[in-house]
Symmetry: C2
Subunit: 361 residues, 2 copies
Amino acid sequence: MPVKDSAGFRRNDPPIETQGTSRRRAPSGVTLNDVARVAGVSTITASRALNNPTIVSDTTVEKVRAAASQIGYVPNLLAGSLKSNRSRLVVVLVPTIAGSPFLRAIQALTDALARAGYQVMMGQIGYDNSHEEALLDAIIGRRPDGIVVTGLITSEAARRKLMMAGIPVVETWQMSAEPLDMLVGFSHYKVGEAMAAYLWERGHRHYVVATGRDVRGQQRLQGFRDKLAAAAGNEGQTSSSIYESYVSLPSTVAAGRQVLSDALGQGLHVDAICCCSDALAVGVLYEAQARGIVVPDELAVLGYGDTEIAPHTVPTMTTVRVDDVGIGLHAARMLIARVEGQTPEQMVVDVGFSIQQRHSA
Amino acid sequence: MPVKDSAGFRRNDPPIETQGTSRRRAPSGVTLNDVARVAGVSTITASRALNNPTIVSDTTVEKVRAAASQIGYVPNLLAGSLKSNRSRLVVVLVPTIAGSPFLRAIQALTDALARAGYQVMMGQIGYDNSHEEALLDAIIGRRPDGIVVTGLITSEAARRKLMMAGIPVVETWQMSAEPLDMLVGFSHYKVGEAMAAYLWERGHRHYVVATGRDVRGQQRLQGFRDKLAAAAGNEGQTSSSIYESYVSLPSTVAAGRQVLSDALGQGLHVDAICCCSDALAVGVLYEAQARGIVVPDELAVLGYGDTEIAPHTVPTMTTVRVDDVGIGLHAARMLIARVEGQTPEQMVVDVGFSIQQRHSA
DNA sequence: TTGAAAGCGCTAACAG
DNA sequence: CTGTTAGCGCTTTCAA
């Protein structure tokens, strides 16, 4: 009869021996099999004790848990995912990491997903969607439970690939007439209109619109133009002007300084600058300050994003407030619902926007 | 004899039928087996044609590639990784995503790894390393080929886990007497010394040091204190003072404004503020501007990070320049070397730092 | 240059 | 509540 001391079963367990069969480089080592052997149960029982403890007796659960922690077991998610077809992995496609205006949304998304037991992988896709397709294979290959895209999936080939793979997709940050699957965003066209209306109503007539060449920027620009044309039409006599200034993305403070100094260098008459990001607006504000131009009296400056810096600039920045956290949370919720086999309440969510009025415009 | 028309083999291939065996929800669908069948070769040959084309005849490679693209094959990386024990996945542990000062490094890392065929997953670990261990299981479970940590792995349990898993690890952003594995960083203590020396030499004697409670901030603070004590010791008669102002992380522009206004509110005599981030310094500059305090004449402001905004503030910001891109690139290089079975030239890299002199101090 | 067999570590399905 | 069997999709090993 084996000795039973106060330490209990620990000293009498069969030793964990490396299986003679595998003589390659040491793999991860401890497997569920080892746990089962130490606990004196079958592999599947060990699996259940760890992943679905309610359907296993309490004593068994205890034994298995003890065994697992004793021998330092870390489950191989690759194997589990292969079998169960669920990877607990969500991939987020972003244009870029550094300087990205989407990070707050991604933070919210990541946190919400982590709480539900999912992990997030980031894929960089660039602002031009150029290697969208190449990346997609590498991503689909990992069989993620969901994909969140910043923007829309544009190329027909990529759309087909995603549909075929049957992976739930959430497109974000824009609206679309034909979403691939689920979508949460808002209308950039309307943002452009609202920005134009805001500036027009305050008597500004000569605008610089600084924007990138991305779809969303173009949509805002179009909204801005259209709203202005309409407003100018109503008051036929007034003269107004728009100067379009293109910046590269992600936009920067440096670019903002450049935008204003270029405009003035060209001798333009400007009384308002509409920016495609807060960073850009910060740059414009600095340049104005450096040149002794008084904001908002001589020049109105409108930002976009309502980032952390906006309420603290001098003067404080009027900017478009976007519910980025809401985007992240909605995307997470929709995705989780779908993965758990339910249908999300809404397949398309418009989170809207508002203009946060402060002192720069 | 089967009909051979100009379309070649396409019409005579056996149709891709769903295997009668699996009747669950449709998995990914197309497998390497399907490709092999369509191409008329064995599974392993198809595998080799796709992953190691040099050891397969050109005609076979062509056949297999055609078959793969014809039926829309996307390899299941889960299965491959399970067998080959290589996941082509690298995990980066960051304290936080939004507002993180480490993003430029991560961008560089991600780009370099992507070029070598690796993908990056981000894990958030918080600034207090509190759930370091819990996250670690989820991460190790995916059997990444490498792990890059922002900071050091502190807890003994976590260190053991990582060693047992045998996964290459790069700790970053700090130096360490006992790196777990590989390391690329620089001395924060020396940064603190350099900041103190810089301010002292320019005649400032009454400092506010604004910093977080993280290790790196504390190390800089200690260096600052020590250097100052030494300098003050040499000139016994001069009086000097340090006021330590703690901010939460990641630090913000808002916190920067608060730091200055708190210090003045307490009636402190301050002629220099040493910040733990550029964001903080930007806030201090704004607060000074709002109060009509002239920088640098009445107040010197020193930043840390040399982020994009630093050269564009008014006045431009003097700040500590850190080679974040270098950190990312070194980490990538070291990791790749190790995964490919080589020994990296150096296991520990000190990328150093410098003070970027501009106008705020 | 190609193939057959085996099995990575885990979980779904179906018994007991 | 527990166990047996089979196999996810791929790559390694060994053989031709």
